[in-house]
């Protein structure tokens, strides 16, 4: 059995666990803990502390694993471990929380430094009325026009599929260009 992996990263409460849960054929193996700190607790009750883990069986010989990183900075020691050997990565950003954009950019830069693999950025919660427009997010996140910034709703399977496919197209394009 061959296995490959992709990593879903991003700031706290960006929607990583939901993203994996929308396409994983198993219930996401989540290492969540109740949040004790006040400001974070106001956003959600529990958070990922080690990783999330989802699986998509491709055929009898191949399995894709999706790893979600912990969003809280104090667990960032897990990031490098999780990024090892990944095909590519997805940076999830909550479009309704501009206060997390700076951290999202920092996470993106950190992962780029770990591995020169293709990546896409998913602008999550685009269905919310207070979501920032995708093109404004591109500037706020300082993303080059060549970087794929995709509107996303992590609870919608089709939306998640589009993000995964765009990442796979980028991986294929890089292979074909000799990268």
């Amino acid at each position: 059995m061959q296995t490959v992996k992709m990593v879903v990263t991003g700031p706290f409460s960006a929607g990583k666990t939901q993203f994996i849960g929308s396409v994983s054929e198993i219930d996401v193996v989540s290492t969540e803990r109740k949040i004790s700190q006040g400001t974070e607790r106001a956003i959600k009750e529990s958070t990922t502390v080690a990783m999330d883990f989802g699986r998509i069986t491709v055929d009898e010989d191949l399995v894709l694993y999706l790893f979600g990183t912990p969003g809280q900075k104090r667990f960032d020691f897990m990031w490098e471990i999780l990024s090892e050997g990944m095909l590519g990565f997805i940076v999830m950003v909550d479009s309704t929380r501009p206060e997390t954009f700076r951290e999202a950019r920092s996470i993106l830069e950190t992962f780029r430094a770990y591995a020169p693999t293709p990546y896409v950025v998913a602008a999550n919660k685009q269905d919310m009325p207070d979501a920032w427009p995708v093109e404004d997010m591109r500037h706020a996140l300082r993303l080059d026009s060549k970087v794929k910034l995709l509107p996303c709703v992590a609870t919608d399977r089709n939306s998640v599929k589009t993000v995964l496919l765009e990442l796979l197209y980028s991986i294929l394009a890089e292979m074909e260009s000799g990268g």
């Binding site: 396409v23 591995a115 599929k161």
Partner: protein
């Protein structure tokens, strides 16, 4: 859709950077600690600004810039009546009291002052109203934002924030290929010019800091300003190789492609 948030999380410098890069047209409204500021932009250039209930009539701005005497200012206030700024400006130019350049420079100075005040606000809600423009009777200018952004980034002192902005000093810098960004029109300090002179995808930020004898904090602050002004971008240093990671279960190139194609087919079928 909304472009709104809190200055605590998204600074004025970052907002100006966004407006500049996206060539936005509209008005930024910031509810600060004790007053509200409005700054209007056309195609990413500052056109107009006002703050609180401050008298921002042209006569008042020219008086504050010492282009009109107290007496002249009083007379205009008494006799100006319903005359708007544009009409007053023309009248003053035709009467030889001021030149067009005096008016433009005074407005630049006044609007810059408002933006500089905004840089000191660390708390406050902001929103950007697309297509909302200043009143027709006001004189608009076209000020490039790069200098204001550089100025704003000089106010950024928090180590933690700078570390978030530039997480690794082992990355390199390259000049952005964005049309319109011209270093010659940007007012850089001597230290900033020294850094600029070393910008090359072969030099890491750490090497530039060593060459210019700057501390981590100093180099981060300068690099941050240059990035925010859209002048440079962070890139992986040329010639560096990362330790090989085993991404695919096979070394064969064709098998790797086939594997990715199988993944694509499977995801499509979900």
């Amino acid at each position: 859709m909304a472009l709104r948030g809190n200055l605590r999380d998204f600074t004025v410098t970052q907002l100006l950077n966004l407006i500049n890069l996206a060539s936005k047209t509209g008005t930024l409204i910031v509810d600060g600690p004790s007053e509200t500021a409005h700054a209007s932009f056309r195609d990413g250039k500052l056109a107009y600004a006002r703050i609180g209930n401050e008298d921002n009539s042209l006569a008042s701005i020219l008086h504050r810039a010492n282009k009109l005497s107290a007496g002249q200012y009083q007379i205009i206030r008494q006799r100006g009546g319903q005359m708007n700024d544009k009409e007053l400006g023309l009248l003053l130019i035709n009467a030889g009291y001021v030149t067009q350049e005096d008016i433009i420079l005074s407005l630049h100075q006044y609007f810059t002052g408002i933006i500089q005040k905004l840089f000191t606000w660390v708390e406050g809600f902001f929103r950007f109203e697309n297509e909302m423009l200043p009143p027709d009777d006001r004189i608009n200018v076209r000020m490039d934002l790069e200098n204001l952004i550089i100025e704003g980034s000089r106010h950024l002192r928090e180590w933690e924030q700078l570390q978030d902005e530039i997480p690794s000093l082992d990355m390199a810098l390259k000049f952005a290929d964005r049309p319109g960004a011209n270093l010659r029109n940007v007012n850089l300090s001597v230290e900033e010019w020294r850094v600029v002179s070393y910008i090359n995808p072969k030099n890491t930020i750490r090497q530039i800091a060593n060459a210019t004898k700057m501390t981590d904090l100093e180099i981060r602050r300068i690099v941050y300003g240059l990035i925010q002004a859209g002048l440079v971008e962070i890139v992986r240093p040329e010639g560096t190789t990362l330790p090989p990671a085993r991404m695919f279960p096979t070394e064969d190139r064709e098998e790797q492609k086939s594997l990715v194609n199988r993944l694509i087919t499977r995801i499509r079928s979900l």
